[in-house]
């Protein structure tokens, strides 16, 4: 059967409403005469809460009610993995921004006025602001279970022997800092009791079914008494995997039994939403002169801030990916995450892999230089291939496109070298750099199933039900394409019902680049089941042998009798039956051994290589990224243009991570002082798609959301080093750091420029 809906650029199904301004984001949602919520937040890094005085605030005209932790009927703590984050703090604040009370008032003005009048009596506690300090023996405890959130190791082979065998060894310290997701839409939402008496919250989210569980726990309600609906979501990047406004809205709705509304300001988003983990990475690697890697030893220390959030995931994932997409026989990686009284770090596009990729790709260039080998050839020599064993001892069976991505980028690089040369202005120096990555699709070594349903109603309507939250990345479109292809019904004729817990079932989070692969598979399974059901019904309806019937192009056909062909929707109509196919998919993984980190944490991996061409102003430290060639092995591009969109967005984010983004606690307030690239800072991006089919993927697809970002910063940093002959080990490579590096440079580093 010819493929029709896969691999084509149909208009994204959400695009029309978005460009016309019809899509409703959190702050656009209207609900009749809502009360406005405002949050009272901690001004202290670490303090005991002695008393929360709300009397004066309650007297502000228009104030209906002020909620504190005492009003929580159920669980007080939430969190994706470790439940340690209070919905409202009652005893102890752990960072500046911790929520203490919610004011509900008739007007926003009254709510703001009252927030100012809530008085908090604190008793200061000593605070800790670096992970090193936090792990010292007598450091003040931030949580009773200690300041070490997680320690995780990947151990394989014998590193002592590996380094002995090495002919060159490179060891460096890499540092990264807090990065904000900078999603376009500040958090906002509404709460109300729906017609069936459910506490209902509508807001931007990356996982409504997780939100539902947390809210139900907090309110001590059965799941079915809580409904979460995802509205149009202005980006996520991991920041909306945790609870943001859900519990606040739900708690107020639960007590007030009337509509409520909340809108965060940009300043509030900056202060209270998770950040990318700052990691300190000590990285030692050794290679033979012929280019073979012999060993790596890596020590990762991260600052998870006041609460756990996804700290454990980042700790484990960065360790598992520490080798980069290369075969290394001897490995020792230790990764630790510590609590501090800094803003809490959580999930952000890549879960620690962008940070570790900066380190492993810098190391690869340093080693290549030390053994005088072309950096691409050096990577190719060590690149994973089919049959390779990863750091965790997993054998790769298929779809390992790293080599191909390197070869494709190499062709580009060789062309660039033949034309590029240093700019005529002597203070401007050009450089080219390579960054490669691998990325495991889905959660790490744990179950992460998705479910989906497809239905045909007696009136012939086809409905796809999925819990997947489309946060702009395009899952609505891609899942519909797959459904349309598999069922043979045009996309326009499939009604999508998504991310509303009243109708959909758990699809897991829109994270870990997993939805195309995992939920795509769940949808396909649902369709297989639907088809079985239809064929059974058709057989009895048509009085034919079921084995002779099959579904093609949306019709039930007969293998022998050409004249029999009946649209599947006709069958529903004629039989007045409702057909439903249930699907689920959980990728096959093997748990990581807690001592050695050995196992098969992911069913498939995405691979990519970026090439960055930069121009460095050696007198000011200003870096201009001129071009990025971005080659991605995506398995199969279901919607190529959408992937290109992900890649360009990823490169933009990578430019920010590499050159300018830096959240400074206590200083950064908003986009006035948190700079992200503008359209003028984003380079020309040349996307190249490699389609190395993943046999377990839907139509061969893997994922690309996070991979799109990961190689950019490493490539840019390597290009800077190429241009100025000195390397920067601390992100971002801002004006000051680049100039500092220029001063240090003896200008020895040009590797590939003939001019």
């Amino acid at each position: 059967m010819p493929i029709k809906q896969i691999g084509i650029d149909i208009p994204k199904v959400d695009a029309n409403n978005k460009v016309r301004g019809v899509a409703q984001f959190g702050a656009d949602l209207s609900v009749s005469s809502p009360l406005h919520l405002k949050v009272v937040r901690s001004t202290k890094h670490h303090a005991k809460v002695i008393k929360i005085k709300t009397e004066e605030a309650s007297r502000v005209k228009g104030v209906e009610r002020i909620f504190t932790a005492q009003d929580i009927p159920g669980k007080h703590l939430v969190g994706t993995i470790t439940k340690d984050q209070p919905v409202l703090v009652s005893d102890r604040v752990r960072y500046v921004g911790d929520p203490l009370a919610i004011v509900a008032a008739q007007t926003i003005e009254a709510a703001e006025e009252a927030v100012k009048k809530v008085e908090i009596l604190y008793e200061d506690l000593p605070s800790v602001h670096t992970p090193e300090e936090a792990l010292k023996p007598h450091a003040p405890l931030i949580h009773d279970h200690g300041n070490l959130l997680i320690e995780f190791q990947v151990v394989k082979g014998d590193v002592v022997a590996g380094f002995k065998e090495a002919e060159v060894i490179v060891e460096e310290l890499y540092e990264t800092t807090w990065v904000d997701h900078a999603y376009m839409e500040p958090d906002a939402g509404i709460g109300f009791m729906d017609e069936e008496g459910r506490v209902t919250v509508v807001c931007p989210s990356q996982n409504v079914h997780y939100d539902q569980k947390e809210v139900a726990g907090v309110l001590s309600l059965p799941l079915e008494k809580v409904r979460i609906i995802q509205c149009a979501t202005g980006g996520g990047f991991g920041g909306r995997l945790d609870i943001t406004v859900q519990c606040l809205l739900a708690l107020a709705t639960y007590h007030l039994k009337r509509p409520v509304r909340i809108v965060y300001s940009r300043e509030e988003v900056f202060d209270v939403i998770s950040k990318r983990h700052p990691l300190t990475i000590r990285y030692k690697s050794g290679a033979k002169k012929d280019g073979r890697l012999t060993a790596i030893e890596v020590e990762i220390l991260g600052d998870t801030g006041a609460y756990a959030s996804y700290g454990a995931t980042v700790g484990i994932r960065s360790a598992v990916h520490a080798t980069g997409p290369y075969q290394v026989p001897n490995i020792k990686v230790r990764s630790r995450m510590a609590y501090t009284n800094n803003p809490w770090s959580g999930a952000m596009r890549g879960f620690g892999v962008p940070q570790i990729a900066f380190a492993h790709e810098s190391q690869m260039d340093l080693l290549a230089k030390a053994i005088q080998m072309d950096p691409i050839d050096f990577r190719l020599k060590n690149a994973l291939t089919i049959g390779s064993e990863t750091a965790t001892g997993q054998s790769l069976m298929a779809s390992v496109g790293i080599g191909e991505s390197l070869r494709r980028v190499k062709t580009w690089r060789d062309q660039l070298i033949s034309v590029s040369c240093d700019s005529p202005r002597p203070h401007l120096r050009r450089g080219i750099g390579i960054g490669s990555m691998w990325y495991g699709i889905g959660n790490t070594g744990i179950a992460n199933p998705s479910t989906a349903q497809i239905e045909i109603l007696p009136n012939g309507e086809v409905r796809l039900l999925t819990g997947v939250a489309d946060i702009g990345q395009g899952s609505d479109t891609v899942l519909l394409q797959m459904a349309s292809e598999a069922l043979g019904v045009p996309i326009q004729e499939i009604k999508l019902i998504r991310a509303d817990t009243a109708f959909t079932t758990d699809a897991g989070a829109t994270s870990a680049s997993r939805q195309t692969y995992i939920s795509g598979n769940a949808v396909l399974q649902a369709i297989r089941h639907l088809k079985q059901e239809i064929l059974r019904e058709a057989a009895s309806f048509l009085q034919e042998d079921e084995a002779d019937l099959f579904v093609e192009d949306g019709e039930v056909r007969h293998r022998k009798k050409r004249c029999i062909s009946l649209p599947i929707r006709e069958i529903a109509k004629r039989t007045q039956k409702r057909f439903k196919g249930e699907g689920s998919y959980d990728p096959e993984t093997r748990k990581l051994d807690p001592q050695t980190g050995q196992g098969a944490p992911y069913a498939t991996y995405a691979f990519a290589t970026h090439l960055a061409e930069v121009e460095v102003d050696t007198e000011t430290g200003k870096v201009k990224v001129i071009r990025v060639v971005a080659c991605h092995d995506v398995g199969k591009a279901i919607h190529p243009q959408n992937i290109v969109g992900q890649i360009i967005g990823g490169v933009a984010m990578g430019v920010g991570f590499a050159l300018m983004e830096e959240y400074i606690p206590g200083e950064t307030t908003s986009f006035v002082n948190y700079l992200i690239p503008t359209s003028k800072d984003v380079p020309e991006v040349i996307p190249i798609l490699v389609e190395d089919r993943e046999p377990s993927g839907p139509f061969g697809a893997k994922g690309v959301g996070e991979p799109a970002l990961i190689p950019s910063a490493p490539a840019i940093l390597n290009a800077i080093a190429d241009a100025i002959g000195e390397r920067i080990y601390h992100l971002p490579a801002n004006l000051e750091r680049v100039l500092e590096a220029v001063k240090k440079s003896k200008r020895g580093g040009k590797t590939w420029q003939p001019c």
């Binding site: 405002k38 921004g97 703001e112 509030e268 007198e619 503008t678």
Partner: protein
């Protein structure tokens, strides 16, 4: 701690049609009014409650504050002329190109379409982009109130960071400067952390003419390195009347960073800023000298 979303304390808003009425409103408000032009600085200050006026006086309808005019030897720019109008103006490009260049690099197209030169001056930011250019143009502001009218050099319009020297009832009406002769060479340079929508990390404006192979009437003003933008006379006198040899320029560049350190003191940013302002200075000088070459 509280976060305001879109709440700005209430105020009255008046859009006077005549200068006289505007002055009367400001006079009567007794310091409780603020002038608003493009609002690109003021509205942010209102939202942050750094200003809490009872009344905003919108000056964008006043004829006296509009337009770019040329008469005899001077160029006169209305206080509400936007950065876009300035950077697009053929007369400014011709007789004060250093200002056109500065205005063209402000913020983004949206900000340049709204933000005015008067607002940029009176907001008195140490990093305001038009200020170094206006300094080297010897620009003078015409300031009026119900009671008085005075002509004030731009430097004297500034008191301290983010504080102008205007009295609360005064309005900046126009900015004037002598047209630059066609043999003037000038340059404006700006450095920021990204390509648009970023406050200048450093900027500078300079101009001079060549007389018999020597630098003449040399004027120089750096931006974002002094608490209040100013000219650097020590550098100006150093170069005046001398031949622009490479060695001399390098020596002058050292004088630039010395002068800045002398005025602003050693700060954590000095180790970055000092060498960079020297480099920018040399770049600007070379660019201006190239202009001199082609003027010939």
């Amino acid at each position: 701690m509280t976060y305001c979303v879109d709440m700005i304390l209430p105020f009255d808003y008046q859009t006077p049609k005549t200068l006289k009425e505007a002055c009367r409103l400001l006079g009567e408000a007794k310091g409780k009014a603020k002038v608003i032009a493009g609002g690109t600085d003021l509205v942010i200050r209102l939202r942050n409650e750094e200003e809490k006026p009872d009344l905003l006086v919108d000056v964008t309808c006043l004829e006296e504050l509009k337009g770019i005019e040329e008469s005899d030897g001077t160029l006169s720019i209305g206080a509400t002329v936007t950065h876009s109008e300035i950077s697009d103006s053929s007369i400014v490009k011709r007789y004060g190109s250093v200002l056109a260049k500065a205005a063209s690099q402000i913020g983004s197209p949206q900000i340049r379409n709204l933000g005015t030169i008067g607002g940029n001056i009176i907001n008195a930011s140490p990093a305001a982009d038009t200020l170094p250019a206006l300094m080297v143009l010897n620009a003078v502001g015409r300031v009026v109130s119900s009671e008085s009218e005075r002509e004030v050099p731009v430097r004297q319009l500034l008191e301290s960071p983010y504080k102008s020297a205007l009295k609360p009832d005064e309005l900046l009406v126009r900015i004037q400067f002598k047209k630059l002769s066609q043999d003037t060479c000038c340059s404006f340079h700006r450095l920021a952390r990204r390509e648009a929508m970023a406050i200048a990390r450093m900027s500078l404006a300079l101009l001079f003419r060549m007389r018999d192979g020597n630098i003449s009437d040399f004027r120089f003003s750096p931006g974002a390195v002094l608490p209040v933008p100013d000219r650097l006379e020590e550098v100006e006198t150093f170069l005046e009347g001398r031949s622009p040899e490479e060695d001399l320029l390098r020596a002058a560049a050292c004088k630039v960073s010395e002068a800045i350190v002398k005025r602003s003191g050693i700060r954590p940013s000095t180790s970055y800023k000092a060498p960079v302002i020297e480099a920018l200075f040399l770049r600007a000088m070379r660019e201006a000298m190239q202009q001199c070459q082609s003027n010939k």
